[in-house]
């Protein structure tokens, strides 16, 4: 135990210290080797100065650029390359992997499900987050309510899935129902349901989990934005006769649109990558498959098909790109 802690501390010390040593050392080395002191003309000095200062930024961004290249840029191109090759990545197969994807029923269901997730989860998370943030803003117990809504953020997706598995639990027709949903049904004298194998609707039951987690995130960010809305614009609207809901929709929301967009796109990108929840709840059974889980299946399980797995990964990436682009563009506009 103590040994583990010491080695963890050592690792941290080594990593942080190593970084500091690299940056400081490289900086000092540059100053020494390209010093403009000593015997030289002003022109030489000036040339040395500009050479030195044009090298300096690279010392600081160099390591980051290198790491990003190895772990982000290279995999993107490797995935692209793999998607045009066969299962072992040996022979070139052209676009046949993409052709396969278009006709594969599981891929089609995944696309449909991803679109459903995209439509439902960001909308409801942002909507609930906004509503809760606005409604709890002026309550003395608002802080407590917000803390409770935020708590699921601290739970991992898999952990959350385990919790919700109990909520949706189904024990056949004989045994006692221990699932919350079925307990409610039974209490009202209705038949218990096998929730997560109900085709189509089970998708929404899985989405509930992500909404449950992400509402807290949306609420916190939007709550801060609502606090930033000038108090007197609200008072002015109140004096002009606006009801609390009119104030929300006509005064508050228009003033926090940029934040809403950021929250929305952040959740959207997260949704495109949704994987853990589906893996833990159904593993894509009963028509709940999504792209990320499908990719994982083809790549590492059963299939072991690098070509098709990479093809699905590329499709996800292409889907994310426009949202990323829009997000970055908005962020840039905000800065100006």
């Amino acid at each position: 135990m103590i040994g583990q802690i010491t080695s963890a501390l050592m690792a941290i010390l080594f990593a942080v210290g190593g970084c500091a040593l690299f940056f400081v050392g490289a900086n000092v080395l540059l100053d020494r080797t390209l010093s403009s002191r000593g015997h030289m003309t002003d022109l030489q000095r000036q040339q040395r100065d500009s050479l030195r200062e044009s090298i300096r930024p690279w010392i600081f961004i160099g390591p980051a650029v290198a790491l990003l290249t190895i772990f982000l840029v290279y995999p993107v191109f490797k995935s692209l390359w793999l998607s045009f090759h066969d299962a072992n990545g040996e022979s070139f197969v052209g676009v046949s992997n993409y052709q396969w994807a278009l006709t594969d029923p599981e891929f089609r269901i995944s696309i449909r499900n991803n679109l459903l997730w995209l439509l439902v989860v960001p909308t409801l998370s942002t909507g609930f987050g906004l509503l809760i943030a606005y409604m709890t803003d002026r309550l003395w117990w608002g802080q407590i309510a917000r803390s409770l809504v935020f708590l699921p953020m601290a739970i991992s997706f898999v952990g959350a899935s385990v919790i919700w598995k109990f909520v949706y639990d189904y024990r056949g027709t004989q045994g006692d129902q221990i699932g919350l949903m079925n307990a409610i049904l039974v209490a009202f004298g209705l038949e218990p349901q096998a929730w997560i194998s109900l085709p189509f609707w089970n998708n929404f039951l899985l989405m509930v989990i992500l909404i449950w987690i992400q509402t807290g995130f949306a609420m916190v960010i939007l709550g801060a934005a609502i606090r930033g809305v000038p108090e007197d614009t609200l008072e002015a609207a109140q004096m002009e006769g606006a009801s609390p809901m009119q104030m929300l929709f006509r005064i508050v929301i228009p003033q926090i649109v940029p934040t809403i967009v950021v929250v929305w796109t952040t959740i959207t990108i997260l949704v495109l990558k949704v994987f853990d929840i589906v893996l833990a709840m159904t593993n894509g059974q009963w028509d709940t498959e999504v792209l990320a889980n499908l990719m994982f299946d083809w790549m590492f399980r059963g299939g072991g098909d690098f070509g098709r797995g990479s093809t699905i990964a590329v499709v996800i990436m292409i889907a994310v790109l426009p949202i990323m682009y829009w997000n970055i563009k908005r962020a840039r506009e905000d800065e100006q």
């Binding site: 007197d232 008072e235 002015a236 002009e240 009119q246």
Partner: protein, 367 residues
């Protein structure tokens, strides 16, 4: 009828009393200025009329109706905020039209009303702009437009000119005054600037520490301040305040640096203070150099110049005088070339002094 009356109004947050039993009547169509230092409760008072602050105790009436629990929108009042509180996402037109839209008035009527208000304020050219693209003065006008378009019976102003530059402030001061008279509405105007208060108010209410210190016309406040606070708050520079001793015969006020015969109108009330001390208020314009006044009743004194403020048309001289910790302030001709450290002789206009009780700080009665 839109008179406003406060009857023993109290506002407190927990144990802290912001307003402690305010009695104030604001008449119909009157321009009432609430003035006082920051934290005196003037803005709270205004916000209580607006309905943005609840009233802890007492009654607030608009007309004959007690409005303590009436919603802001049903009080028929409009407010201009210090920051203007324009809706940043709406055009000038929409800003002005917002209240009308909420009342679901027909479109062409809204259009007409907004254009009328814009014309009154010279905003017609700017109706399509967003507040961001307006200057401070233009934003101020939009805020005014939003208030007048609803044709309320009471206007509330919360330091509306404090964000404008000096020149624009003077101009808007006059415009707001004219507008209020033309629209014939009751106006309540909060400011900490006593010049604004003096120039704009039909009457002024001076507030301090949550209490009303005096209410009256600008000249009443200037000529007959009811207590030391009002005396020193109204008028620039501040009124000089000397603690002087009244002779046993009740005829002369004495101070180590000056002796002043008690003016006839004060003799009766000063009688009770024979042999005791009194606070004597002297406005700086009633302390002038010997050759710069044509006063008949004067008392001479001299002091050492410590600060000279040159204003162009006059200078304000702060001098140290014997027997007083505070400086004596005098207004002098600008071409009077004194230097710091020199000793100057000045005269006090003795019939224009003010007498206050040192304990209660209240004005003695003059005849």
């Amino acid at each position: 009828m839109a008179s406003i009356s406060f009857e023993k109004v109290v506002k407190s947050y927990g144990d802290v009393n912001i307003i402690r039993g305010l009695d104030l009547d604001i008449r119909d169509k009157e321009f009432m200025v609430l003035v006082g230092p920051s934290g005196c409760g003037k803005s709270t008072t205004l916000r209580m009329i607006a309905g943005l602050e609840e009233i802890t105790n007492g009654h607030l009436k608009i007309g004959d109706r007690v409005v303590n629990s009436v919603h802001p929108k049903d009080r028929d009042v409009a407010m201009v905020f210090q920051s203007y509180a324009l809706y940043p996402h709406m055009s000038v037109f929409e800003n002005i039209a917002f209240g009308l839209r909420l009342r679901k008035l027909p479109k062409d009527e809204i259009h007409k009303m907004v254009h009328d208000a814009a014309e009154t304020l010279g905003l017609t050219e700017l109706l399509d702009r967003k507040p961001k693209a307006l200057s401070g003065g233009q934003r101020q006008r939009v805020a005014l437009g939003r208030a007048i378009v609803r044709k309320p019976s009471v206007f509330l102003f919360d330091e509306p000119l404090s964000n404008l530059d000096a020149e624009l402030r003077v101009q808007m001061r006059a415009e707001i005054g004219k507008l209020q008279k033309r629209l014939a509405v009751t106006a309540v105007y909060v400011t900490h600037d006593q010049v604004e208060a003096m120039t704009m108010g039909d009457r002024i209410a001076v507030l301090h520490d949550g209490e009303l210190r005096q209410v009256g016309t600008p000249l009443e406040l200037y000529d007959a301040p009811q207590n030391v606070f009002v005396a020193q708050f109204i008028g620039t520079p501040n009124m000089n305040m000397l603690r002087m001793t009244l002779d046993e015969d009740g005829k002369t006020l004495r101070h180590p640096s000056v002796s002043i015969p008690v003016p006839p109108q004060w003799i009766a009330s000063a009688n009770a203070y024979k042999g005791k001390s009194l606070l004597v208020g002297i406005r700086p314009e009633h302390v002038r150099a010997v050759d710069e006044n044509e006063w008949h009743n004067t008392a001479a004194l001299s002091g050492t110049v410590e600060i000279i403020e040159t204003l162009g048309h006059e200078i304000i001289v702060h001098m140290a005088i014997e027997g007083s910790d505070t400086q004596l302030i005098s207004k002098m001709d600008a071409h009077n070339t004194h230097t710091v450290g020199s000793v100057v002789s000045v005269e006090v206009h003795t019939t224009r002094i003010h007498l206050f009780d040192p304990e209660t700080q209240q004005r003695l009665t003059s005849e």
